[in-house]
């Protein structure tokens, strides 16, 4: 589904990735762990086409990212296939939880009625019923992350990037989020899980560590 082929990337003089190669296959659940500033968020930004590698190539669903980026329409279509939770993905401050959850489906082309219906179903799974009409600033952190996951489910994405979804959460809330991810994995969704910690104990197929601009098992 996603392949990094000898990717080089630097932020100014700071080298982030050097000769980075890895493959994320369809339907797999991969955890990439690494300390802060190790390049996890940069990895996401390269995948979604926010950044361009200095060298090498990134392939998404069999197509070179440089090709995808050359057409704004194709880049948008690629981004619509991705569900993002945490990191650079967040809720919109001036929309209610329900509106936020329905947003991705709406952008993906669902009718307002279908997007709302799908959002309500997803919110139910994440126990967001009591906060549907609340704004993100007044709900708890776990509810915010649950809302982001619900947004992914409401638009039926088949590729999810989660960036530190359980960071800062208590054990019970973290378990709930990880269980939902495991359930999504079972339904055939590809998951890329980035964390500063160890990641979920059960569910993922592969654990990788990012260090010094390279990925190691």
């Amino acid at each position: 589904m996603i392949e990094f082929e000898k990717v080089h990337f630097s932020h100014g003089h700071q080298k982030i990735f050097s000769n980075l190669s890895f493959v994320l296959e369809r339907g797999k659940y991969v955890v990439i762990s690494g300390p802060a500033r190790s390049g996890k968020t940069t990895l996401i930004q390269l995948i979604i086409g926010q950044y361009e590698p200095d060298g090498g190539e990134i392939y998404v669903i069999g197509e070179a990212m440089s090709e995808v980026k050359s057409s704004p329409r194709r880049l948008r279509e690629w981004r619509r296939k991705i569900g993002g939770v945490g990191g650079i993905y967040s809720l919109l401050a001036d929309r209610t939880v329900l509106e936020n959850v329905a947003l991705s489906a709406e952008i993906a082309g669902y009718s307002p009625h279908a997007a709302r219906k799908s959002a309500l179903e997803a919110c139910g799974k994440y126990r967001l019923g009591p906060v549907l009409s609340h704004y993100p600033s007044i709900i708890s952190e776990v509810e915010r992350r649950a809302a982001l996951l619900a947004r992914v489910e409401a638009s039926h994405k088949n590729f999810i990037i989660v960036d530190g979804p359980t960071d800062g959460l208590d054990a019970k809330s973290a378990r709930f989020i990880n269980e939902r991810l495991a359930a999504l994995r079972l339904s055939g969704i590809t998951i890329l899980y980035l964390t500063t910690g160890e990641g979920p104990q059960s569910g993922p197929d592969t654990y990788l560590k990012i260090r010094g601009g390279a990925l190691n098992i």
């Binding site: 926010q50 704004p72 948008r76 279509e77 690629w78 619509r80 991705i82 993905y89 001036d94 952008i107």
Partner: protein
């Protein structure tokens, strides 16, 4: 594509969040468009005044003292044969003296040995004549035997025409300038709004939102702000005109269709301004 209900919720959300910016830009638009309205009103009325001057134009033909009274009836027939002549009225020396005395008092002709006033004809037309038509007509009349002079208040007509032409030119220039200001105002307001919504824009783009999704609320906001400002401007003008009564002339206000077209043009300008303000934020 964004749906209308989302658009209205976005507009109200934006208004709630950016009250001062929204109210400020609306008031700026209102004041600018009020200026356009006043120029338009002045231009329409001057032009109307000019047309009415031309429509009521009367030509005074003064007869030479040596022209025999017996020829006057033939002379009148000659005048009646000109195109579009509505009537030809004769004014004798005595009648002219009476009119003069009525206007300036019985003493006006006192001390004069004889009545110095000439005989004259007054002509008017069915159709409104242009200045060129009247000039040509006067030229034809003056060449008739027995005519000493022809007068149709040319200097007044020229004055009104010059004011009308000048106002039209100024109106076109100021109108163009003001539409440009509307464009800039909308562009700047939207640019400021877009800056406050940068985080939202980034998120929407990450989710794959296209330019139309991002652009639509701004285009509509630009359109409706300008349309409402233009409409309100006219309501203010019409209200003010109702409070003031003009006794010497009736003020002409543009028709509803003209005002609707004007509001549409203002809306379109606001929409273009909306696009100009936001376009740099549309890159994926």
């Amino acid at each position: 594509m964004i749906r209308p209900q989302r658009f209205f919720s976005q507009i109200s959300r934006h208004f709630r969040r950016e009250k001062r910016l929204s109210v400020g830009s609306f008031l700026v638009l209102l004041i600018i468009l009020l200026l356009v309205d006043m120029f338009w009103l002045a231009s329409v009325n001057i032009s109307n005044q000019y047309q009415s001057v031309l429509k009521t134009a009367k030509v005074e033909i003064y007869i030479e003292d040596t022209f025999a009274d017996s020829l006057l009836s033939f002379f009148k027939i000659t005048l009646l044969q000109f195109e579009d002549v509505a009537y030809v009225d004769f004014t004798s020396r005595e009648e002219a003296a009476r009119i003069l005395q009525n206007e300036f008092g019985p003493m006006i002709l006192e001390g004069l040995e004889a009545n110095p006033l000439p005989r004259s004809y007054t002509m008017s037309f069915y159709k409104s004549k242009s200045l060129a038509d009247l000039d040509m007509f006067a030229h034809q009349i003056i060449n008739l035997e027995g005519v000493s002079s022809v007068d149709f208040g040319r200097e007044w007509i020229v004055k009104v025409e010059n004011i009308g032409t000048g106002l039209k030119r100024i109106g076109l220039f100021v109108g163009g300038l003001i539409l440009f200001v509307v464009l800039l105002t909308m562009a700047n307001t939207n640019r400021l709004t877009a800056r406050t919504k940068l985080q939202e824009f980034t998120q929407l783009k990450l989710l794959g939102a296209g330019p139309s999704y991002l652009l639509y609320p701004f285009l509509m906001e630009g359109f409706f702000s300008a349309v409402i400002a233009a409409g309100t401007g006219w309501l203010v003008i019409i209200y003010l005109l109702e409070q003031v009564s003009f006794t010497s002339f009736s003020l002409v206000v543009p028709t509803n269709t003209e005002i609707a077209i004007y509001c549409g043009v203002a809306g379109l300008t606001g929409m273009i301004g909306g696009y100009l303000g936001i376009r740099r934020f549309l890159r994926p």
